[in-house]
Amino acid sequence: MIVMRMKTGDKELALAAKDGDADAFTLLLERSYDRLFGLCFRLMGSHAEAEDLCQDICAALPAKLSQFEGGSAFSTWLYRVVVNAAHDRRRRASTRAKAAQGWGDWEVNRTEAMREQAEAQDWLTRAVGTLSDDLRDTVALVMDDMNHREVGEVLGVSEGTVSWRMSEVKKHLKALKESEQ
């Protein structure tokens, strides 16, 4: 019964789901969805892209789950799935320009919709839109309150690399700010 499982950890649910427990799977996905979506958005830069990525992940998750061994936290594992799906999506979305364009469209729409916030978001667009994919992925995960080690685990790089990337991001942001002053 789901009710009984309210306090079951994600990893236990994931392992149960892997063994065919549909209720555990549903509960796990319901728990994770909004957060999953947030990450999708940060990775893709547009609402529509984020929704689509989310859909792709939901469709494939049951099959992917068979590869979850419980060696890492479920969230870490899930994020790895998301980041890889985002990579695939970007790569196949004909060109890399597409991803950057997502941020551009997003900016256009957003400024129209909420003018008063235009300035701040313009900054966000510039700040994120100009980052390389690696840096953007890293930022998207760090923004999720993951520590550098966990981010490294998701991305398959060392903690040191994540820290170095974040320092690059900070440099980037600093330069951006200075150029604006």
Binding site: I2, M6, G20, H47, A60, G71, V169
Partner: protein, 630 residues
């Protein structure tokens, strides 16, 4: 973290939109379904069944919104956009899980997800019920709410929608080809009216489906010419040539001072026995959104019906596309019914969409199957969730047009209700020289695929254009009813390079003009300093010209005929007029005065004629429904 990073984080949390509540529910359902399938257990009924079957996976359209809308595209993608495709290829299906190998077990536990949810700042941005429940709360609470949310999702009702503009977005994922309604023309100023024929009937089916669901259709979904052309009319068959014209005129039901002029074409019906072998490639959308009773299952039944109409030497192949595209059935002679039916039965829905790969594969198959003198068709069956991976609509049009020129036509069968991308269907079929049909029931499948099989697949004339020059001596004003999406420039008529609609064997095309004869009250005042009198015969209303090409021909032929003033009404025109008025009512037209559904019902009932298939009786039912929903 540095201040800069904090700034970035704050900006992100403001910018991150709430997940679309409806898609959330659908995506979870999709995952559950795939989960169930993976366990080898029969898929359970989707929990969304009794919710309105709105579109879910309208990716193409969503992406389109983002690419083209100048306003509110992100926060509320509610605008109805009228063109375009942006293609995004789906993921994951074929992607090898290169990083999915489990990590060594030395890793230390990361925080479990639900704790993260509780501290998730962007939850503040979420809307409606989900937001208020998911927002900051102690650890156990989100679990609770996650569940209660899943319990209540069967009725995504007022509470959610009232607070959540984003939820309402799905209602708009049906995009309709719509341009301003044809307006009145003064003969003296604009004597010539030019349009391309249209034998599509999708709009009528959309209207019917909407009314049957107890809702008036959106005005933009109503294309009057497609409604009028839905019905078979009793026109005389041509004694020679590709088609005959049929003219008639009656007093406009809703305006005594104007006349309705009918210009109809009746295509010749070649002997069915003599038709060339037919190669059909079914390109079937098996993405997750097709898994509803009125989609894939109906499609299977429809194709089963159609199979009975094929001849032994016809060939059928099936390509399915979802996350990836694949040939499901190699070219198979129609006589091998069991093989074909078996392949059909094995189709199952699940995953994303990869329309481009499917389209390319289908065309490749069609090419492979084509022998000299044979007719090849690609039949795309989809619920509109069609992500064609070509980079822009023009490229897509060119691609399909290119295939069209090599003799392979594309027809589109639309299924389901909610995220049907009418614009895309129209664009695809028009550029592929095929028909766009919308199939909402088995009887409709019967009509489209069986009764009209011959016409749909055997064009007898292509690029058929109609041009009417009205005589200012007899006609003061005129208005073409419908055909808004089919208007052509006057000079396009003689330009054989300009593409226009095709007419298949036995097809009929009906066009209605509302004309004001000279001497009647006109809507536009005559010019004081205009030409004093019109030259020309007063026993002609105008002059009708038709241009068409024989199938495969480069140069067009011309048919000319004067339109006499002495035309009589007939039952067929009376019925067409009633349907036309019905369409105007649905569009909220202001031209009808006091003429209402009541009058439409009376007029249509009096003009039912033989109606051997009951189409007209059904239309009268729909008028009644619309009257009660008004």
């Amino acid at each position: 973290m540095s201040d800069d990073l904090d700034d970035l984080k704050a900006a992100f949390s403001v910018a991150t939109p709430a997940p679309d509540a409806k898609r959330r529910v659908e995506n979870v359902a999709l995952a559950q379904e795939n989960f169930a399938r993976l366990q080898g257990s029969p898929a359970e009924a989707r929990p969304m069944k009794d919710a309105p079957s709105m579109g879910v996976f309208a990716k193409g359209i969503r992406a389109m919104f983002d690419a083209i809308s100048s306003k509110a595209g992100l926060t509320a993608t509610t605008a109805l956009a009228a063109f375009g495709l942006v293609m995004v290829l789906p993921v994951l299906r074929e992607g090898p899980p290169k990083v999915f190998t489990p990590q060594p077990a030395v890793l230390i536990e990361a925080p479990v997800l639900e704790e993260l949810i509780a501290t998730e700042p962007e939850a503040d941005m979420a809307v409606g019920a989900i937001a208020s429940e998911m927002a900051p709360s102690p650890v156990p609470a989100p679990r609770m709410s996650a569940k209660s949310q899943s319990r209540t999702r069967v009725a995504p009702g007022a509470g959610l929608i009232a607070d959540a503009p984003v939820v309402a977005v799905e209602a708009d994922t049906e995009a309709f080809a719509s341009v301003p309604k044809n307006t009145l023309k003064v003969t003296r100023e604009t004597p010539v009216s030019t349009f391309s024929v249209d034998v599509d009937t999708a709009s009528y089916s959309i209207v019917r489906s909407s009314l049957m669901n107890g809702q008036l259709p959106p005005a933009a979904a109503v294309r009057i010419e497609e409604m009028v052309n839905y019905f078979p009319y009793d026109y005389a068959a041509p004694s020679e040539g590709a088609f005959a014209t049929s003219l008639a005129m009656m007093t406009t039901p809703w305006n005594e001072s104007t006349q309705l002029l009918r210009i109809a074409l009746q295509g010749k019906m070649p002997e069915v026995e003599a038709r060339p072998p037919l190669n059909l490639v079914f390109l079937i959308d098996t993405s997750g959104s097709m898994n509803q009773p009125d989609k894939l299952p109906l499609l299977k039944q429809s194709l089963r019906l159609m199979l009975g109409q094929l001849r032994a030497e016809d060939q059928v192949a099936i390509v399915a596309y979802a996350g990836s595209a694949g040939q499901v059935l190699e070219p198979t002679a129609a006589r091998e019914r069991d093989t074909i039916l078996g392949a059909l039965d094995n189709l199952a829905a699940g995953g994303g969409t990869n329309g481009q790969a499917g389209l390319q594969q289908a065309y490749a198959l069609a090419k492979q199957m084509q022998d000299e003198g044979e007719v090849s068709r690609v039949l795309l069956a989809t619920d509109g969730d069609f992500n064609v991976g070509l980079s822009n609509p023009e490229a897509l049009k060119d691609y399909i047009a290119d295939k069209r020129d090599s003799g392979m036509f594309l027809s589109v069968l639309g299924f389901g209700h909610g995220n049907l991308d009418d614009v895309t269907m129209q664009a695809l079929a028009q550029n592929g020289n095929g028909q766009a049909s919308y199939i909402d029931s088995l009887p409709e499948a019967q009509k489209v695929l069986v009764d009209q099989l011959t016409g749909a697949f055997f064009p007898i004339a292509s690029d058929v254009k109609v041009q009417v020059e009205f005589n200012p001596a007899t006609v003061a004003e005129y208005r073409l009813i419908g055909y808004e999406t089919r208007a052509l420039a006057r000079e396009d008529f003689n330009n054989d390079k300009v593409d226009a609609g095709d007419i298949g064997a036995g097809h009929q095309v009906t066009a209605l003009y509302e004309v004001t004869l000279v001497g009647n009250e006109t809507q536009v005042d005559a010019l004081r300093y205009g030409e004093s009198s019109a030259d020309g015969s007063t026993d002609e209303l105008g002059f009708l010209k038709l241009r068409f090409k024989e199938p495969g021909a480069q140069d067009s032929q011309l048919i000319k005929r004067a339109i006499p003033t002495t035309l009589e009404p007939d039952t067929e025109l009376e019925f067409a007029a009633a349907v036309s008025g019905f369409g105007e009512l649905l569009r909220g037209s202001v031209r009808l005065g006091n003429w209402s559904y009541k009058e439409a019902i009376t007029a249509a009932s009096n003009a039912r004629g033989e109606d051997s298939f009951g189409y007209r009786a059904e239309a009268i039912q729909l008028m009644r429904l619309a009257a009660s929903l008004k």
